[in-house]
Amino acid sequence: MTPIVTIENLCLGFGRLSLFDGLNCDVKPGSILAVVGANGSGKSTFVKTLLGLQSPIEGRIEWPTGKPAEIGYLAQLTEFDRRFPIRVRDLAAMGAWQGFNPFAGLNKTTRNRVDVALEMAGILDLADHPLHTLSGGQLQRALFSRVIMQDAPLILLDEPFSAVDQYTEQHLLSVIETWQSEGRAVIMVLHDLSAVLDHCTHALLLGNGRASFGTVNDILTPDRLVAQGYMSSSQASWMFRGQANGGAR
């Protein structure tokens, strides 16, 4: 299967300060890549580089089937203005920005798509609520509905479950699995290793200046997690207790 994106010898950082180097990987349709690493290891920088918001120090990002016209993106919640005076359905509709006509409202097809996206995210009943009345989990669902509206072949999620409860996380993970079944590729920054092991096909582990890419079970081993500064050896021993030669469970 032809990858959506191929990364060769990528080195990221700021100025002359390198966060990691020598990353080679490819992301295929229908795969879910978890980006894991300690704070400051370059996870968000990696996502922003894929979006074109930041340039790599070295290396290449290739798009074998052409760069997608749209890349779905969910930024960290901290960067969002919750006081902005719009309704939930208006936020979702932003995902269809490429079809906006400056002198007309949204057409019926787009309005129907908004309803479907809100239904899929589980907040159709909140469609006409202003944003500031939403809880953290409801807002995250609203932002997911915007990503659904983007209808993109590649979706980037930066810490999508950082401010949500377990129930919401499970629901949003089911949305991500739907995207996977539709042949979309998903790259998401995660801290919850159990979510990575249960739902992701590949992992990119960043830390201590290194980048390791492979299948989840190949990458999330105690030795690697300790070597790349993601956890201490005692944490690794606790997490991987009772397992022989396998990944964390």
Binding site: K48, E70, A75, E79, R83, P85, L91, W97, P102, P130
Partner: protein, 285 residues
């Protein structure tokens, strides 16, 4: 009351002032609404000061003509806006600190040149506006600026909403996001210049910010805020001009802004999203 209105409208300069401020209200209302939503209320004030050297140089070199003020102010305002964006993007300073530094330099340059030019400069009308200064050229300027502003807003409204609500998402989706940001700053400078004759450099931004902040207390949707902002601007101008007419020593700028201030205080006290809402336990945005 009727006699006052009849008397007031018997003067051509008052009729001009009412027409010009009515058009101005339609133009500055959306700019003010987005200044508030983009958390640039103080940046608007800073830009009003930043255009001073251009306006002063225009005045000193070509007199009080609309074109000299327009070009001088545009060059100074856009120069400060572009330099601010450049410094914010390429140095450690954030945009607020960059803008504060540059507008202070610009203001000092303006006041220095204004003082050096001597007593020929009508300082009071320069700073606070004068309804006597509204001539045909000023009316054409305000009409032109209002047309450009409203058409541009129609074109960039949705991208502007996106960039205001979620700038990170906006930057990730648009190839040239700076066009919307700088386009908005361009509209801000244009409207400050359009308001200059009636309100003066120090008061011009008041007609943008106060009606917009007052409207924020009444409504939770952008559409309603734009509409209310326009109505509040219009009320401020009409009542302010009347006040300035009744008290001839009062410059029109402070009179208009004072009325806008009164509307703001009333809105804060009685608006559903103001103090009353807080006391009633309404969740504020």
């Amino acid at each position: 009351m009727f006699d006052l209105i009849t008397e007031m409208f018997s003067y051509a300069f008052m009729r001009r002032a009412f027409v010009v401020t009515t058009i101005l209200s339609a133009s500055v209302a959306p700019v003010g609404a987005f200044l508030v939503l983009r958390r640039l209320s103080l940046a608007g004030e800073a830009m009003a000061h930043a255009i001073t050297p251009g306006v002063v140089i225009g005045f000193v070199t070509a007199g009080l003509s609309v074109m000299s003020l327009l070009f001088g102010g545009l060059i100074a305002g856009l120069g400060v806006a572009v330099l601010t964006a450049y410094l914010a993007r390429n140095t450690i300073l954030r945009s607020d600190a960059s803008l504060a530094s540059l507008y202070l330099i610009a203001l000092a340059v303006g006041i220095f040149i204004l003082s050096a030019a001597g007593s020929a400069v009508p300082l009071k009308s320069f700073l606070f506006g004068s309804i006597l200064g509204v001539d045909d050229a000023s009316m054409i300027l305000v009409g032109g600026v209002a047309t450009v502003t409203l058409v541009t807003f129609a074109l960039i409204l949705r991208p502007l909403i996106m960039s205001t609500c979620d700038p990170v998402f906006f930057e990730s989706q648009f190839k040239r996001p700076w066009i919307v940001d700088q386009g908005f700053m361009f509209l801000l400078v244009l409207n400050l210049l359009a308001a200059f004759k009636t309100l003066g450099t120090l008061m011009a931004v008041g007609l943008m910010i106060l009606p917009a902040t007052a409207a924020r207390y009444w409504s939770g949707t952008i559409t309603a805020q734009l509409g209310l902002g326009f109505i509040f601007s219009l009320l401020s101008c009409w009542l302010g001009l009347t006040l300035s007419y009744v008290m001839p020593e009062t410059p029109s700028g402070p009179a208009i802004v004072l009325v806008a201030g009164a509307i703001f205080v009333l809105s804060a006290l009685f608006g559903p999203l103001g103090l009353r809402g807080q006391f009633n336990g309404t969740k504020k945005p």
